[in-house]
Structures are given as structure tokens and as C-alpha cells.
Symmetry: C2
Subunit: 552 residues, 2 copies
């Protein structure tokens, strides 16, 4: 058993889906596992992206030796450029495809030479990273070249699964390496950081290959064009669609910037096998009969500017949906995107397409293992301690139950959250502290300057709008110079009510001035309260009231 101690601090990904970032720390240095971002939720009004709070890392910037990336999804690598803009990262380790995707990202941010990019070969043995020894284990997932990380640390052997499923028939032939996991289990794993995304779901997730079989069954039945929308990074899904196109005499057109980019990277690196003759450009589509056409596109989440959404709204420069088209949405809406996806489906149906989606046809499978797969991993690794990661609390709690079922004592199961400091020492993992970590919002060009108060204001504005009262007071005599004006936006304004509000403001000012109350702050407070009360009584609504008193 190791004799030192190791601290594990999740800065993201616990109690949420997204922005995974795990700090592994001992006295001689830090390695990070993953560096993801999250997409904003409804309450993050106007926010574009959400990043982890990097403050903990800023304070330890000189101790960071490397970032290890488990796979190329945004929630695991998307935060890397933002992290690297702030903090020097000496080395970034990733498998070949992940590295290809990351390079293109870093290039866009002008950061291509900011770190040494080191390729992980999971078939090779352990590598030294300062005080750590790292091994990488192939895991099947919805993007090729995913790995788990095994880290020998001063506090013990730690295994972070990354995202995974146990797919016994993966499209690229690279199975989750159960043999290597078993070997680690035999050596003795002290702490498992295990993916919890599907821990609540019973049974097993179906193989990615089943989606290809569904394509193979569905597509030959169609006389019209077939459009397939999926995640741009799901190379296996794209490969299977393209294979069926080739088998059924269809040419393939790729529509959507991120899809074309990812397909290029995957082809160049040998992860996607497509002959050049199969691919047509959008402007060549008109030369093909519908039954000779397959269009692969982005937009499976109903994103407003994506290819599929624009096609659905007849706003795409090259492709318009036609009667007889079949659209397969080969993805599941990320929670919160359901209505947008439904809107897209309705628009597509209005344009005459038949739309097959995961609610009504088996055109998608998850990339994450269900409960029985997690049980298998627990059985192979037999970890002394388990800390569920990746997921909302309900998912983490579900993995904790699975660990208990596997015979791990309750006090060896750590239900941590973002900012928890978990110490691994003498074979026992325990919570030793809790940092106050938040999120950093990227909005427009600014990173981190949108604060909670701005979001609260946006929420208030969004509910009942705003009512602005402008009054002018003479600075010499404390007299009202001009009658107040009232302006409203987003508030269901009726002229008589606005006039009533104006009169109430005028009355309030006169009353205040009669009592020699000329302090602007007090005046504004009185206008705010009186006008607010009037509006609420008349309408039952509470717009934001903004009194502006100008001294002239």
C-alpha cells in the first residue's frame, strides 16, 4: 500500500452534466484529468458557455505538470483553451484523435504552441509524470479513442474511467479493455472515479452497432432523400451512415461546419474510412435523384443556427426539405433542449419530411454504460474506495448504491461535489474539506464578467419587463423642473396605466419635496416603492421599476 497522500479535487462535473475537470494533487505536483465546458441552462439567460472556476488552479499555477484528456467531447476538452489562456500548462496528453480535435481548437485560439502536446498510446506501458505514473486503458464511448486513466500516486492507485460503455461489438473494433481493468483490479485499486451518467438506468446500453443495423433496415425502404443529423463528433455513427449509403447506392453530402471539420480530422487521422467518390458537395445535390442522396448534417439538438434547423425553416443556402424526405435525428436531446428539438421536428414535418427520432424509433443509443456495466467495472477493479463522478447528484447517488451492492462499505464511498477536497491516504479516501467553487460564464467576448446579480436582473426583466421613471429636479431650489416621464419595455403597458404611474411618480415627488426630502437616493426609493405598489395592485405584475432622478 502507498505510504503518502493524494488529494483529489473536482472543479466541475459533479452535481451537473458538463465541465468535467478533476485536480489530482500531492506535495510534488498536480495533474488535471480533463478540462471541459458546460452549456448554459435556462436560468443562465444570454450566457454562451459555462466554465469551471479556475481560481484554485491560479493559486497553484506553478505546480501543474500536465492535463490528461480522456476523450474529445466538449464537456471534457472544450474548456482547455480558456484554461490555457490563463494558466501555463506544460503538457497536454491525449490519444491521437482527441489530440487532432484539440489541436484545431487551440489553433482557433492562437494557442497551438502554448503547450507540448503528447500523444497517448494506450497499448504502451506506464509513463512517468513527475510524482505520478500514468497508464491509459481503452474504453468504448460515442467518440473513438477514449481512454480511462490509471494513476499511481503517493496516496495509492487511482482509476478515472472517463466516459465509457462496455460495448462488446464496437464499430471500430476497439473494445473497453476489460483485461487491463482486471489486471489493475488484481494489483489493487485504491480509488475509483467512475462515470455515473447512466447509473440510474437498469440493464446495459445497447451496442453502437445496433444503430447501424437500424439504418441498414430503414434506409433501403425509402425512395426519397435520407437526412441524418447526429453529433458531429460521433465518428462511429457517421461511419455507419456512410457504410449504409455506399451499400444502398447513395452519395453522401456533409452539411454543417463542425461536422465537416470533424470528418476531415477523423479521415486524415485514419479514424473514418470513406472513399472520395462517395462524397458530393452541396451544389452537386441537384444532379442526384432523391433515392441516390444521403445528407449528413449537424443540428440534432435543434440549435438555432445549425444546418438542420436552417433546413427546417427553409433558411439554408443549399438544402431545403422536400416532400418525401426522411429525416433521422440520431441523437437524444440534452435535457433542456427538448422543446427546440420538437420545434425542429414539427417544421421538418410541415415541409413534408417524415421524421424518425429516438422517442419513436431505435435510431440512437447512449455512449454511457448503464447500471450492469458499472457493476462489471466495479467487479473487475474491486476498488477499496469509490467516488462517483460525471453527473447530477441523482446519478452519483445511483452509482453509490451500485458500489454498496458490490460490497464496498458505506464509509468507503465518497459522495463529493464540485470543490470537495478528497484525501486518499493509507487506502482510505475521505472528504477533508470543501472549497467554495462556482462557475465562470462566457458571454459575448467576455469571460467571467457576468455575475449572478446580472443573471438575477435578466430573470426579473424577463418576467415582467421594466418600467423606467425619469424625473428632473433643480439642484438649486429642489423644485421639480419638468413632469416625470414613464417608459416601459416588456411590460404589458396600457396607456391609462402608464399615465397613472406617471401621476403617482409626480405625486410622490411633490410629497417628498414638500417635506424637503431632496436626497436623490431617498427620492428614488419612494418613487420605486409607490409606483411599484400601484402597478402591482392594478395588474398583479412586478416589473423592474427603475427611477432615475436627474439634478439639473
Amino acid at each position: 500500500m502507498a505510504s503518502g497522500s493524494t488529494r483529489v479535487v473536482p472543479l466541475g462535473g459533479l452535481g451537473e452534466v458538463g465541465k468535467n475537470l478533476m485536480v489530482v494533487e500531492c506535495d510534488d505536483g498536480i495533474v488535471l484529468i480533463d478540462s471541459g465546458l458546460a452549456f448554459p441552462r435556462d436560468e443562465h439567460l444570454g450566457v454562451d458557455l459555462v466554465l469551471p472556476d479556475y481560481e484554485y488552479l491560479r493559486e497553484r499555477r506553478d505546480e501543474i505538470r500536465a492535463v490528461l484528456l480522456t476523450h474529445g467531447h466538449e464537456d471534457h476538452v472544450g474548456g482547455l483553451p480558456y484554461l490555457m489562456r490563463e494558466i501555463d500548462i506544460p503538457e497536454v496528453w491525449a490519444t491521437r484523435l482527441t489530440l487532432g480535435l484539440v489541436k484545431s481548437k487551440l489553433d482557433e485560439h492562437g494557442l497551438l504552441r502554448a503547450a507540448e502536446l503528447v500523444e497517448i498510446d494506450p497499448e504502451k506501458g506506464a509513463v512517468e509524470l513527475g510524482p505520478y505514473r500514468a497508464e491509459f486503458i481503452r474504453m468504448a464511448h460515442s467518440i473513438p479513442d477514449s481512454v480511462a486513466v490509471a494513476l499511481e500516486t503517493p496516496g495509492g492507485l487511482l482509476v478515472a474511467t472517463g466516459d465509457y460503455k462496455i460495448d462488446h461489438t464496437p464499430v471500430d473494433g476497439f473494445r473497453t479493455d476489460l483485461g487491463k481493468l482486471a489486471e489493475l483490479g488484481n494489483r489493487g485499486v485504491d480509488l475509483l472515479l467512475g462515470d455515473s451518467t447512466n447509473a440510474e438506468r437498469p440493464g446495459v446500453t445497447e451496442s453502437e452497432r445496433t444503430v447501424g443495423e437500424v439504418f441498414r433496415h430503414l434506409i433501403p425502404q425509402r425512395d426519397g432523400r435520407v437526412l441524418i443529423a447526429s453529433f458531429a463528433s460521433n465518428v462511429h455513427r457517421v461511419q455507419q451512415a456512410i457504410d449504409v449509403a455506399a451499400e444502398t447506392g447513395r452519395k453522401v453530402c456533409l452539411v454543417g461546419r463542425s461536422l465537416r471539420k470533424n470528418v476531415n480530422i477523423a479521415r486524415n487521422l485514419g479514424y473514418l474510412d470513406v472513399s472520395d467518390e462517395l462524397i458530393v458537395k452541396p451544389d452537386e445535390l441537384d444532379l442526384l435523384r432523391p433515392a441516390e442522396t444521403m445528407i449528413l448534417c449537424t443540428g440534432s439538438q435543434g440549435e438555432p443556427m445549425s444546418a438542420l434547423t436552417r433546413m427546417a425553416y427553409r433558411d439554408h443556402p443549399h438544402v431545403a426539405i422536400e416532400e418525401g424526405d426522411t429525416v433521422i435525428i440520431s441523437a437524444k436531446p440534452v435535457p433542456g433542449n427538448e422543446l427546440r428539438v420538437h420545434d425542429t421536428i414539427n417544421r421538418l414535418a410541415k415541409s413534408g419530411a417524415e421524421v424518425l427520432h429516438q422517442e419513436i424509433a431505435p435510431v440512437h443509443v447512449s455512449g454511457h454504460g448503464n447500471a450492469e456495466e458499472i457493476r462489471t467495472i466495479l467487479a473487475l477493479l474491486r476498488p477499496r474506495n469509490v467516488m462517483p463522478v460525471h453527473g447530477e447528484f441523482r446519478m452519483l447517488a445511483a452509482q453509490a448504491r451500485l458500489a454498496r451492492d458490490a460490497g464496498i462499505p458505506a464509509d468507503h464511498i465518497v459522495l463529493a461535489e464540485n470543490g470537495s477536497v478528497v484525501e486518499l491516504r493509507s487506502g482510505i479516501a475521505r472528504l477533508v474539506g470543501q472549497l467554495d467553487v462556482g462557475s465562470t460564464f462566457v458571454d459575448g467576448l467576455g469571460v467571467g464578467d457576468v455575475q449572478d446579480v446580472a443573471l438575477r436582473d435578466r430573470r426579473h426583466l424577463s418576467e415582467d419587463g421594466v418600467l423606467i421613471v425619469v424625473a428632473t429636479i433643480g439642484s438649486q431650489n429642489g423644485r421639480e423642473i419638468a413632469p416625470p416621464e414613464v417608459i416601459s419595455r416588456g411590460f404589458a403597458e396600457s396607456e391609462p396605466l402608464l399615465e397613472e404611474a406617471r401621476l403617482e411618480a409626480e405625486r410622490t415627488i411633490a410629497e417628498c419635496l414638500a417635506q424637503n426630502m431632496t436626497e436623490l437616493k431617498l427620492l428614488q426609493e419612494h418613487i420605486h416603492d409607490n409606483v411599484g405598489r400601484l402597478v402591482s395592485e392594478r395588474t398583479g405584475r412586478r416589473p423592474m421599476i427603475l427611477p432615475v432622478v436627474v439634478e439639473v
Copy 2:
């Protein structure tokens, strides 16, 4: 075949889920089928309820003979009080339970005596309604006492299914009356208005009874308390939960106003069989052991003020979630509510409960028939024309495909939308016009005064907030009196940027005044454009810019 003509005008429920209201009209009068409301979508910022646009009915107020209600769900009866506040409705027809629920609603609005309430007995024969003869057919659904309506009209025989599934083993024994539907089919149905909600889904919906079987299997395994959240109106679900409580030695506590109200109505009218000894009050819960307790509650949609949400957030006066509790969320999130329901589940899990919900356990079934059930109805009724109703376009289109499969010619299938005028004459239904119908928003105390422009403003405000620029100009000399002020809300404000915006406003005003441009509108436009450009360049954001120029 009928020799006259009938017009069918849907004012709600087509191209959407909710606010079902169908106008059936001939020269001698109008009957309405259902009078529902809808719940606001995300983009309806701050709106409480959505109603159909009643303008078409206002113009024909003297022709309305009756409203026929198919069942007691809000999307079929919830709009009735609002309709009756505006328009005299001589008669409201509904089955006994529906009438019980509607009475309580009308009572709250002081409208109990505003119409004659007539009880439908589906076992009885046809009734005369002016120029129409109506028959009612029992249909199984997720609320008892649901019916379809068959209307003999001058234009032909019309059947509106209401909401239904074909449940061969309904909890109350009242099956969808296939015999009567077959008899109508044999007589000759001219137009079917068929529920499309689940038309996309293959196969059949499972019987409501299967949920009771799941309760019967799950609940005896639990040593702790069991909480079940479901729709307050799902009397069958409540009956099954209570039956299992009785069988397993648990007392039942009802928590949540709408649940208690609906259970009272259903018990009083004989739709729910519960012995008094089984029910305990919330303040008696402490006297029971956890294994003797079942709590039925509202909140299955994660509604902010509902019982389950308040329990989850430890904000409920009587019940707090404890370690060892099992919470069964026996409902499906209405699209758009997913994140709220997930938040509630996470909170419940954090408080120590195990949460079973429809994503991970078979604790809910739909109240609507899937494709094979719709095919059965089509086979029984053999309608000459089909007009799919109740649902988003994709659902209507799916029922249209099922009708085509059933051998109905494409030109006898009417894909209508809200405001479509469909004429049934000589056995053929066709679209003869399109009204411009919108929605009416209920917001606070006001009905209909929130307009689209207010919603657009709220959306804009919610995205980047608001920046207000106040300037004062001397009315005599056209000189600036005081330097402009800049106030922002919901905009990620930095002091230097606000100062820069202020200076830009000052510069703009000086420039305009130097050119003798003193017209307030023009001045405001220039301030708006220049400050907006500056902010967008500096931050990439576009807050609403509100310039206020006061002449003093």
C-alpha cells in the same frame, strides 16, 4: 348522406399540445367541443396561462348553444371560466366527474350559475342540441369518465374522439366502448376528429393497471416511507396507490391542495374508493413508523410551489424528506419541464431519498393511444374523412400517415391548423378558409393585454439586459443641461465600460446639437445607435439600449 353543410373550426389544440377548442357550426347554431387552456412555453416569459383567441366566438356569441366537454383535464376544460367571463354559454354538457371538477372551477370564478350544467350519461341514447344530435361514447383515459362525441350535423356524422387509449383492463372497468364505435362505423362516419398525441409512437400504450402492478411489486420491498407524486386528476393512479397502501399496511396522507380537492370530488361522486381509516392528516405522520406511511402528493412536474418541490427543498410545513424514503414520480415531464423535474430529483436524492421515475422504472404509462390503437379506431369507424387533432404538427402528420395506411385517400385527410375552416359537405371534408387566430395570454390579473411585442422585449431584456441613457436638454436654448447618466441592469457592467458609454452619449449629443439637431426622436436614435455600436464592439453583447432625453 346528409344534404347540408357543417363547418369545423379549431381555435386551439392543433400544432400544439393544449388549449383544445373546436367550433362545430352550421347555419342554425354552434356547439363547442372542449374549452381548454395551455401552459406557457419558455418564450412566453412571465405569462401564467395561455388561452385560445375567442374573437371568432365573440362575433357569433348569439349562435352558441352549448359546450360539450370530453373530460376534466385542464387542456380541455381549464379555459371554460375565461370563455364564460366573456360570452354567455347556455349549456355545458359533461359527464358526472368532469362536471364535478368544472363546478369547483366555475365556483372559484363566481360563475356557478352562469350556465345550465347538464350531466352526460354515455349509456343513454342521443340528445338533441338544436340542429345537432349528440351521442357520447365511453373512452378510457388517464382521468375517469372520459367520452368521445358523435354529432349528427347537417353536413354529416362527425366523431370527435377526445383523448383516449384503448385500455382493455382499465382500473375502473370502463373500457373504451369499441362496440358503440363499431356501430357508428357501420352507420357511416363522415369526419373523424382523432386524438394524435401518441400517433408517432409504434405499438400500443400499456394499460394503466400495469402501474398498479409495479406499485404492488416495489412498495413491499421498502422499509421506509413511500411518497408518490402524480397528476392530481389521475384518479386511477391514486386509487391504485391507495389499494397497495391498504394491502401493505400503510396509512395514506394526501399532500397538496389540488390533490386533496380532486380526491374529495372523486370520493364524493363515487369515483374513488377509500375507507376513512386509511387516511391520516399530515400532523399525524409523526405517529407512524416509516414502513406504515405512504404520502401521495402533487409536484410531479417540478412546479416551484408544489408539495414535492417544497419537500425536496425542505420548505414544506409538514413533510421533510428523510434518509430511507422512496419517492416515486409517477408521471412524465411535460416537454419543457424536464430540467425542473431533474432538479427536484437531485434535491430529493441529496436529502437521502431513492427516487424512481419514468426514465428508469415503469412507474408511469401514457393516457393516449399509440399508433396501433389509432389504427384500431380507424378500422372501427372507417371514416370517409380524417382530420387529426390534439397535438403538434409532427403528431398530426403521423396520424395522417396512419389514415393513409388505412386506405383513406390523401384528399380526404385534412391537415388543419388553428383557425382553419374545414367544411363538411356531401361526404367530403375540405379546407375552405383560414382565420388569423392567435393566443391570449393571462399574466397576473390581466387577460389578453400582454402582446407579442412585450414578449419580444422581455426576450431581448433576458438575453443581455438593458442600458439606459438619460440626457437633459434645455428646451429654450437646445443646450445640454447636465451630463448624461448611464444605468444598466442585467448587463455585465464594468465601470470603465459604463463611463465609456456615458462619454459616447455625451459626444453624440454634442455632435447633434452642434448640427442644430434638437428633435428628441432623432437625438435618441443617434444615442441608441452610437452607444449600441460601442457596447457591441467592446463586449460582443447587445443589451437593449433605452435613450431618454428630457427637455427641461
